[in-house]
């Protein structure tokens, strides 16, 4: 990804440098060549439609190349590959908290394996932050109240800067950290230390502790939809709309169960807004996601609801 961005950047740089240089050259050349000299008077020229059209259309075509190229890169940046390793991220004034699927938790330091796609699923506890790793050429604002997503594919082991790029209060410039890219085998070793509980397992425990399991049963008898095989699939809602069961949908369904009711169910689920932490929420989302990878028991009927907006 970094290479793609750099290639476009260099292309932009070359084109711009050529344009700047030609403008500068012309200005300087005219200024010298047509400086006032005794006896010669300025020659009046009204303008030229042909020229105006030429220097509108040619730049426009060049601009369209910039646009399309930039758009293609952006499209890739915004579309995480399905096989990514996932890291749940909670930003707060002024630190980054990461949690790996395997259960490792880190603060201001993120260990990832080289050669693997990594997807950041991020939310903020307070104000807007922005996850910025210059070396990977990625940046994504982290918003309170919803998930935003970024992904990268690090190739070279090493330690890279992680910055908060959206002004977030007093210690904005202190909200920095590092991304440690490791050789896959070193990463395995790092990962196996500590004996953590996988995030989805934490989620499963919460799922039963909070009583979710009594309604969201793995058969068709529950008062809530069966969540097996739901994640990532379209869900038919009570009002006829269809939404995709993504992270934001699951998050919204836990916090505001009534927002998007699944077709065939009643809005009987209590809200968990303010009752669980962002970390617990992430664990629940990870658990529902893990259920999604299992074969669907009851297609069409899915989790109670939702993702807030986008």
């Amino acid at each position: 990804m970094a290479n793609n961005v750099d290639a476009l950047f260099v292309f932009l740089l070359v084109v711009s440098a050529m344009m700047t240089l030609s403008i500068f050259t012309m200005v300087i050349f005219f200024a010298v060549r047509y400086r006032r000299q005794g006896g010669r008077r300025a020659e009046q020229i009204e303008g030229s439609h042909a020229l105006e059209i030429t220097w509108s259309i040619i730049p426009f075509c060049v601009f369209m190349v910039f646009f399309v190229w930039g758009a293609v890169i952006y499209f890739r940046e915004r579309t995480p590959p399905p096989d990514s390793a996932e890291v749940y991220t909670v930003a707060k004034q002024w630190m980054w908290k990461f949690e790996h699927m395997e259960g490792q938790r880190e603060i201001n330091e993120l260990h990832v394996p080289a050669g693997r796609n990594v997807k950041m699923i991020m939310t903020s506890q307070d104000v807007i932050h922005s996850f910025f790793v210059p070396a990977f050429r990625i940046k994504q604002d982290v918003l309170p109240g919803r998930y935003t997503v970024a992904w990268f594919h690090a190739t070279k082991p090493g330690t890279y800067h992680l910055f908060c790029a959206e002004y977030c209060g007093t210690m904005h410039s202190g909200m920095v950290g590092s991304v440690v890219v490791m050789e896959p085998k070193d990463y395995e070793a790092w990962m196996s230390g500590g004996g953590n509980q996988p995030l989805a397992l934490t989620g499963e425990k919460l799922f039963s502790e909070l009583g979710c399991v009594t309604c969201h049963r793995t058969d068709t008898q529950g008062r809530g939809p069966n969540l097996v095989g739901v994640f990532g699939k379209p869900v038919l809602l009570e009002d006829g709309r269809t939404v995709t069961a993504d992270e934001n949908y699951v998050r919204e369904s836990i916090l505001q169960p009534a927002a998007k009711i699944v077709n065939g169910f009643k809005p009987v689920m209590p809200t968990f807004q303010g009752q669980i932490s962002d970390e617990q929420l992430n664990a629940l989302v990870a658990y529902v996601k893990s259920l999604g990878q299992q074969p669907s028991g009851q297609p069409g009927k899915s989790v109670a609801a939702a993702s807030p907006q986008p």
Binding site: D246, S307, Q309
Partner: protein, 95 residues
């Protein structure tokens, strides 16, 4: 500008039309028109607004094209604000 002097009859008819419009919009809200409820409400509101602009604000009689241009510009830029904002909000759930 409006050297034109409208008749009292005209003003009173517009006034009555506006009152009827108000009644109509309240009535329309109480019946189920499905997705057309807000559309009907906005259509009635726009009709009322047009009546006020054309007759009470004398735009129908002004010989000044500029006034009309100014109104169109206001609506145009307001719609840009709405349309381009909604371009974001309505497509956020698309994948």
């Amino acid at each position: 500008m409006s050297e034109h002097i409208s008749s009292i009859t005209l003003y009173v008819s517009i006034w009555i039309a506006l009152l009827i419009g108000t009644g109509l919009t309240v009535f329309a809200a109480t019946i189920d028109l499905g997705p057309f409820n807000p559309i009907v409400a906005l259509a009635i509101a726009t009709t009322k607004a047009v009546l006020v602009v054309l007759f009470f604000m004398h735009v129908k009689y002004t010989h000044e094209k500029l006034t009309k241009l100014v109104i169109v510009a206001a609506i145009f830029f307001f719609l840009i604000l709405i349309a381009l904002s909604m371009a974001d909000y309505t497509t956020r759930l698309w994948t």
